[in-house]
């Protein structure tokens, strides 16, 4: 059981999202930084899609009602257990009664807390992700609040054994942390409506920096920079959008659509961020800048396949470590 002592800015239960219901207008949701979410789960011996807590910028205060093995991956929000700074990207054993707190967001915006057994909330449409606007999924369909009690799922025998042994020092082994950047270069494919933009906009999207506006959330990041405009105004027929679609409404400020995006949209899409670079966007804080660099579809798919390959290798390495420990 986890007790929420303080809520923090926005902490929600997330997994890898709701699949198969977008045709009914149900958004995908899921972790904004799915790589950090998956690695955190793998480190504690969970399935990749187990539910974690997505902790945003100003973290909550969490008390552990039982001993637990946890991992923190993603943005560095200065996690401390009982006032002592703890390392991220590795498994940690937390004793019953301990309290997890966070400091200032140093690098990145979102930290994922995985716990052996996973956060136990009901599956809604096949997922444990919080769908804030519809008020469903996750913990009672909302962000966590002071006083909430979160149940932990059933551990595997191996996870139980690892916890009983409480051999914390042996876990001094970490996965290579994902590198987040203060001003990342995001690789982007040209979008389906790239050609309706004027020549100047087509150049500037790849040559200039854009800042993440304060009006940004899990649905999308509004970017501020050079205004983009169409060659001739065009009415677009609404169609599907995706995680990382860069659409441009009439005011000329692009919006990068993220985990809580609507299923369809009617604004022209100038580009589509490469999937491998999505975590770099999701970890940006308001005010930070990014740049776009063109990548071909074939290249973007190749990078994605390589990324999946390296996660498979890490998974195998973690499993070997687990066998050594237990």
């Amino acid at each position: 059981m986890l007790k929420i002592r303080k809520s923090g800015l926005q902490t929600t239960v997330q997994d890898l999202g709701r699949t198969g219901f977008q045709k009914y207008g149900v958004i995908a949701s899921g972790a904004m930084d799915p790589i950090a979410h998956r690695l955190a789960n793998l480190l504690v011996g969970n399935e990749e899609q187990a539910a974690t807590l997505e902790i945003t910028l100003m973290g909550p205060v969490i008390e552990f009602a039982e001993d637990a093995n946890i991992a923190l991956c993603g943005g560095d929000l200065e996690p401390e257990i009982d006032g002592v700074a703890v390392k991220m990207w590795r498994m940690l054993t937390v004793a019953k009664g301990s309290t997890l707190t966070f400091g200032e967001p140093r690098i990145g915006a979102r930290c994922y807390l995985a716990i052996a057994g996973g956060i136990d909330v009901p599956l809604v449409m096949g997922s444990r992700s919080t769908y804030l606007r519809a008020g469903i999924g996750g913990f009672q369909g909302r962000a966590l609040e002071k006083g909430d009690l979160l149940a932990v799922g059933q551990m595997t025998p191996q996870q139980q054994k690892a916890l009983q042994q409480n051999t914390e020092n042996e876990f001094d082994w970490l996965v290579p942390p994902v590198r987040y950047f203060d001003e990342p270069v995001i690789r982007m494919m040209t979008g389906r409506q790239f050609d309706v933009f004027d020549a100047d906009s087509k150049k500037r999207i790849f040559n200039e920096a854009f800042a993440v506006s304060s009006n940004s959330d899990r649905m999308g990041y509004r970017l501020e920079g050079p205004r983009l405009s169409l060659e001739t105004p065009a009415e677009l027929i609404s169609e599907a959008v995706a995680f990382g679609s860069v659409q441009v409404p009439a005011d000329g400020n692009p919006i990068v659509l993220l985990a809580d995006r609507q299923t369809t949209g009617g604004y022209p899409k100038i580009g589509q961020a490469a999937s491998v670079d999505l975590p770099l966007i999701s970890q940006l804080k308001p005010g930070q800048q990014l740049r776009f660099k063109e990548i071909s579809l074939a290249n973007a798919q190749q990078r994605l396949i390589e990324q999946e390959q390296s996660i498979r290798e890490l998974k195998a390495a973690i499993q070997l470590k687990w066998e050594e420990w237990t």
Binding site: R192, I237, E239, A240, A242, G244, Q262, S275
Partner: protein
Amino acid sequence: MNPSFSPLGDQAIVIELGNDINAHTEQLVRKVSALLESRQPEWMIEFIPAFVTVTVFYNPCVALYENVQMELAELLMHPGDDLAVEFSTVEIPVCYGGEFGPDLEFVAQHNGLTPREVIDIHTAGTYSVNMIGFAPGFPFLSGMSEQISAPRRDSPRLRIPERTVGIAGMQTGVYPIETPGGWQLIGRTPLRLFRPENEIPSLLRAGDKVIFREISEEDYHTWGGEDPDAENP
């Protein structure tokens, strides 16, 4: 069928089935959706049908763009017989005006009608669900009479209660969940359009027909005491 294909990033492909919204293109969208539903290619994750497109999300670790495009083109060329799709006509009971429809008067005045006439025209139409999007279970409906069209509000409301029926331009629709919005609100239905507990969480599906029926405030409230699903299995 003469589809064109283009990528939506590195994990989706858009099948474009026409250039403008018309009955023929809509029919093709329904057919392609039914085909994908029945065949479930191994690389497919899910798909989103819209007005003139069907977007297929896929796993590039299983098949790259070129292969997905080739297989889809092949699939659409020989669609087989599994395309018969059945759609239902769904009756949506609405309590018009009053606190449920604060903009009914405005819609009437804007069109030089009485509120009664607006209700009669709204309930006389048969509407087609072109697409589900914007919000869970939200139907984009076509077929509304021009006689009751009305512009969006100058400043959108921050909270529109779920199940509110609205008009914007030539469109009418029902908000399935509470959301901000700029539509003119004319009534509310006791029916839930979004049913997250169901295997198919949307009351309506693209391709269905919708008719609106007027109910009294009393009916509205007694309806609320029953299982809405019992009336519309």
